[in-house]
Symmetry: C2
Subunit: 772 residues, 2 copies
């Protein structure tokens, strides 16, 4: 073994300021070095205790929470600055902002201390943050001094605030999506140019065909006489927002002209928009596959390295002895139970030859990653406290009843009846009493289940639906009680609490989904991709924030909202005479304005949904300038053409992975072994398991009350493979790719792996592994 | 060889009533039997000469044209029947219909004669056609007799007419898409139910949250008080057609309520609609892959069979001798040139050992499929007629000029200037003179190119852009001359001709696309998928036709269109007082009605684009019954959720294939060989080729005037691989899958291949191979 490689392995052992737990293969490689006997003689730790303390401190959760707190404060300042939802004086917000900037700077200095200088300055993220801090300070000073002499200027640096959210190492996912967008840009640009060319050609045609006809729109305006207006109208038609209105004057004139619009829609709306999705999706997939490929090869590489450290020649082949293998596994997973370790060994050492060969060793990281649930035949607490009562025939009958599938069906029927009652008028006193009946029925259900199933298993980490049930019912109980108390005390309903009660009451109906197997599959996939959807939430927040700040600077105060009961002429034109007779005022869109952050975000949401966006754009163009339409056009291009398509691409990919990967190979191998070794759940018991399954409790250990001899003989330990339902898309993709690498394939060299693309998955600086 | 297999091979030799040319591998297998010496002794032809004549007659192009003609007549009868665009008496249309039915029946009888009875009656298609003929006759008789006693009834059988279009063997592609839809249905159904459940849950919430607030819509109607109306409004919101209007009353009341709508849109519009696309796309891909896999394995299977017939043992391995191989190739491709055959042999017989081994033999079908263009150094006709003039220095200068890339650039600039002139007002006489100048410039360009390049090559089969150019310019010339003649004769412009001139003039600008390489790539992919998009056209036509017939029966005459200049109260409510104050009348949608086939199809197109569909649905519900909305809802589900998504899936897949498959393996092998053998286009010539390439003439043979010794020495024959640009998606996919089959993989057994799915790609009846 060359010394350099070993040193790298050792460096990886150092405490790492990384937000993610290190991967199984990293631990294995490090453990291989540790368990290697020769290693103990020369420990090449180069770091001082103080540096290690700094690392730990940088990585401490309080520091991370603090930085997120400051990012939130910084972003939410827009709520308090002019135009404000809750106005605060400029002095207060600027002091808060300076505080935030100080915190960001402090974090950066801290980071610089724990990172080699070279690495720190090479990282664009750090430069970005510093430049943004400086720019914000400059802007603050200029704005403050101008404000002091009563000149109103623009707080442009506010649009830069999301930079802090993007560039801190903790928001890796958002950065990844941004990188994905950046990679897509060149490809999308050409399609976009071609698309714009097509729109222009059609605009020219429209000008020539309809310009001289003297046609009029519904509003009595001239129809298709100005090339720029035509181009805008046709762009809007691509988004379908003004269909069929834009066609009607020409169609009314002569029905042959509808062919022009049909051609336009087929080419630009259907074909070009699909091509945009294709380009975005293709890039998304390419990018994803590259990252996954890198990870898979890196893992293989590390496992081979670990094997090479531990290998011993037995006969003609190199193997790892059982003793070494066990020591290694114990180092990596200190809390592993002996039976679990024994199981893994029996799977790895197929021939029971006392050693593990290379192919099986390479699978070790995957084996350790698989969550084999050791089913402890834990007794129900009640059984321990009062075994007589719990084991009495009446109690057993109750338990059998609850486990029976009829119990589930009965409650499904109850939910349906409940739905009908909700739809009926709740003014009727009988119905409001029924509500109490339903609430108590649901509470009884939960109590019965807790009586039957082991409570710790029932509230297991991944028992989504059990948690959902209990929380909804408890919240409904609290809210209903609170509402009744207020009602009886003050003789009127509290509107907010009543709203909450209503929503909770209806959310309970969602439980019916769980009873239908096919529904559960779809919902599980949706829950799986939940975390990544949140990443998109972050991405959308960043883009929305920037556009909201720009929108507020450009449009605030131009359009005002009056109470709907106001019917003064001023209220009808949203406080701006320029809107007289406009579609904007006619549709009563006055509340869609940029007068504060919340309103701005809602307007942007409406623009994302696309419909009527041309009316919004037209309204703001009327009160400012026609050029304002550019703001709306660019929002459409960025959000609808890029981000929404990436979102769709992501959901498509997630569903494809979920459809195509039912069981990975390795897990099947383990399952077979578990069955062979006779320590798995038997068929007859699976029946029982299915019932629990109906409540989505597949990976709970549940206490079986029917004592089984074989079970007891194995010290109450059983194995089951944890449910795959909650795996992430990334993990699934990695498995898909790994199954494509042949077992004997050692992959390309480390350098080649690293140069798969200029990404930063494998760090030059091992401290920030996986933090890119 | 077992006799049965041989007989099957022979049967395949029989003339086949199939609309497609037989695949290369079928020919090869048949040829293998023919070239097998033993074969000639016992020819097991079981068919009589009369049967063969019947086959040929059935398959004759006139018969196919006739049947398509009758289908067109049958479908277009809807234009002449009540409610008619061009009314004809019932007697006339019914006679026409009976004629069509007779023709269809005759075709069916003919088909039955050339098909074994068992096969004929097992085929659902034939049963379908017969049932439809009978039903149509019954309907005609009932309707006719009721009409005779002046009772108006419904011509329901008209909705069945597309059955003829779908079920005749010639419309295989449409059937395939329908099969794809049918396969998708179960999966989509569950997602749809879950989606409807979600819409209902949200409707309940909306009823409880907003129902009692006494809110009003812009029209002053009560807001969200009826659960069915809420469900409809929320379904419309999923299509985004009533966003943000549906939200405004609640949002105006309290901005917190916007959160309800945002949640709804995220879940139902973004997530569920993406899931629909994912399900449709996933099924589309699965289905496609299965068909492709079948085809690929079948091909492999047939090639192995052919090899087994021809093989001879040489040394330790079985091979096919050179003589046999050549005879086989000659049978399959009688018109192959000797140098081309030599080239193929040299590629197949890598070691020049005088025989072809199994692996190379299996590739033969692919080799023959690759269009190797033999470049005949044909002389320019002018060069042959007057070599002196054509080879004079002035002529050579012109030719060099035309070949130069500056020539292309100059014309790009001319096009741009032309675009500016078109945008300007053509009333100015100077500009209308300029139009003549541009026209003559374009004509000169074409003449110059014809002078420089070999005309037959310039108008090659796949020279899309050359054809496009010439046709556009010629049409513009004719139309402009016609217009000027009419103008000078009658002193006014003919509107129709002027419109055509204008459109042609603008279409010329499209040529600029060809000059930009990246644009060309996208456009080429789009042109490639053109034929399949036409298939979708057929599918859409079928669905539109059925919905149009139903719509005409339900809604015709309820809404009338008056000339826009009419402002009588009747005209403002589309001739129906029920529409008073409705959004339908306010937006002047009166021409969107079901009063004839053309109008109906345009309304359906508008519904496909989705925007404002709730206003259209609302209008028709007002003039008939609220249940009419079901018609529009079902149209949305069928067309937008199913068909549009399949269309998007298809475009996505086509682009992925185009992106991922740049060059297939076999072609690279041939290219290498061509280079090795020194018969390929040299680098220096490629430069020249690129210039032609700029006009997309890559696969044209072009006459090089710079004599090359090496070239001449090879009898004026050169090879180039034909452009892959015009390949179909199916062919690309098949190649992708084949590259995944290992060369030594013989694939599953024939029975297994056939049972990949219950599809009908491989026929039990060899007569209708590939006709499913």
């Amino acid at each position: 073994m060359p010394g350099a490689g070993r040193a790298a392995g050792v460096r990886r052992l150092r405490p790492q300021p990384s937000e993610e737990p290190p991967a199984q293969e990293d631990l294995l490689l490090a453990a291989a070095y540790v368990s290697d006997a020769q290693y103990n003689r020369n420990v090449p730790f180069e770091t001082s205790p103080r540096a290690i303390r700094l690392y730990y401190f940088y990585n401490h959760w309080t520091m991370q929470v603090a930085i997120y707190f400051f990012i939130c404060v910084d972003l939410s300042l827009a709520l308090f600055e002019e135009p404000a939802l809750f106005p605060l004086p400029f002095l207060a917000t600027s002091i808060a902002e300076v505080l935030c900037l100080t915190a960001f700077f402090g974090r950066l200095v801290h980071f610089a201390k724990v990172t080699p200088q070279m690495v720190f300055w090479k990282d664009m993220k750090n430069i970005c943050i510093m430049v943004t801090i400086v720019l914000t300070l400059i802007d603050l000073i200029i704005y403050g001094s101008l404000e002091a002499v009563n000149i109103h200027s623009v707080r442009w640096s506010r649009a830069l605030r999301p930079v802090f959210l993007i560039n801190f190492p903790e928001s890796r996912q958002i950065r990844r999506t941004f990188r994905s967008i950046r990679n897509t840009l060149p490809d999308i640009l050409y399609v976009f140019l071609l698309f714009m060319f097509s729109v222009l050609i059609f605009s020219l045609m429209a000008l020539k065909l309809f310009g001289d006809r003297g046609l009029q729109t519904v509003e009595g305006l001239p129809y298709f006489t100005n090339i720029l207006e035509i181009a805008f109208e046709l762009y809007v038609l691509v988004t379908t927002a003004n269909s069929p209105d834009v066609m009607m004057p020409a169609y009314n004139f002569n029905w042959w002209y509808s062919l022009y619009f049909i051609t336009y829609i087929i080419i630009n709306t259907y074909i070009f928009m699909s091509v945009f999705l294709a380009v975005v999706y293709n890039n998304y997939r390419k990018h994803l596959k590259n990252e996954i490929r890198k990870l898979a090869y890196l893992k293989r590489h590390k496992m081979i390295e670990a094997f090479n450290i531990l290998k011993v020649k037995v006969g003609t082949e190199f193997v790892v002895t059982e003793a070494r293998w066990k020591r290694l596994a114990r180092i990596v997973m200190p809390h592993i139970s002996s039976p679990h370790l024994e199981l893994l060994l029996r799977i790895s050492d197929e021939g029971q030859k006392g050693h593990v060969d290379k192919m099986n060793f390479l699978r070790l990281a995957d084996l350790l990653n698989i969550q084999v649930v050791t089913i402890n035949i834990k007794r129900h607490p009640l059984e321990e406290w009062m075994p007589r009562v719990y084991q009495s025939s009446a109690s057993l009958l109750v338990q059998r009843m609850v486990r029976h599938r009829i119990f589930v069906w009965v409650y499904d029927v109850i939910i349906l009846i409940n739905a009908i009652f909700i739809a009926l008028d709740e003014k009727n006193p009988f119905i409001s009493y029924a509500e109490w009946l339903f609430l108590s029925l649901y509470i009884i259900e939960i109590l019965l289940k807790l009586y039957t199933y082991e409570p710790r298993a029932y509230f297991g980490k991944k028992q989504f639906w059990n948690w959902f049930d209990t929380l909804i019912i408890m919240a409904a109980l609290v809210a209903t009680v609170a509402n009744t108390t207020i009602q009886s005390a003050r003789k009127y309903n509290s509107q907010q609490i009543l709203d909450i009660v209503l929503i909770l009451r209806i959310l309970r109906l969602l439980r019916i989904i769980v009873s239908i197997q096919r529904f559960r599959l779809i919902v599980t996939t949706l829950i799986n991709i939940g975390p990544t959807i949140l990443t998109f939430g972050g991405l959308v927040l960043v883009v929305y924030y920037v556009f909201a700040i720009i929108g507020m600077e450009a449009f605030h105060g131009k359009i005002r909202f009056f109470d709907p009961n106001f019917t003064t002429p001023d209220a009808l034109v949203c406080g701006n005479p320029a809107l007289k007779d406009s579609a904007f005022a006619r549709d009563r869109y006055c509340k869609n304005n940029f007068n504060d952050l919340a309103s701005s975000l809602i307007v942007l949401m409406e623009l994302t949904v696309v419909n009527q966006w041309h009316i919004l754009a037209g309204g703001f163009a009327l009160v400012t300038h026609q050029a304002a339409k550019l703001y709306f056009l660019s929002f459409h291009v960025v959000v609808v053409i890029l981000i929404v398509n990436i979102f769709i691409a992501f959901i498509l990919e997630a569903f494809f992975v979920a459809y195509s990967l039912e069981k990975s190979e390795i897990e099947t191998a383990i399952e077979k072994k578990i069955q062979e070794l006779g320590v798995g759940i038997q068929e007859e018991e699976m029946q029982d398991g299915k019932l629990v399954d109906n409540m989505d409790a597949k990976d709970s250990g549940f206490s079986g009350d029917d004592g089984d001899n074989k079970r007891k003989s194995l010290k109450g330990l059983y194995f089951r493979i944890a449910s795959k339902k909650y795996r992430t898309v990334d993990a699934l993709l990695q498995q898909m790719f790994e199954s494509e690498i042949a077992p004997e394939d050692e992959g390309p060299s480390l350098d080649e792996i690293l140069n798969f693309s200029p990404g930063d998955i494998y760090p030059k600086n091992p401290n920030f592994e996986n933090s890119a």
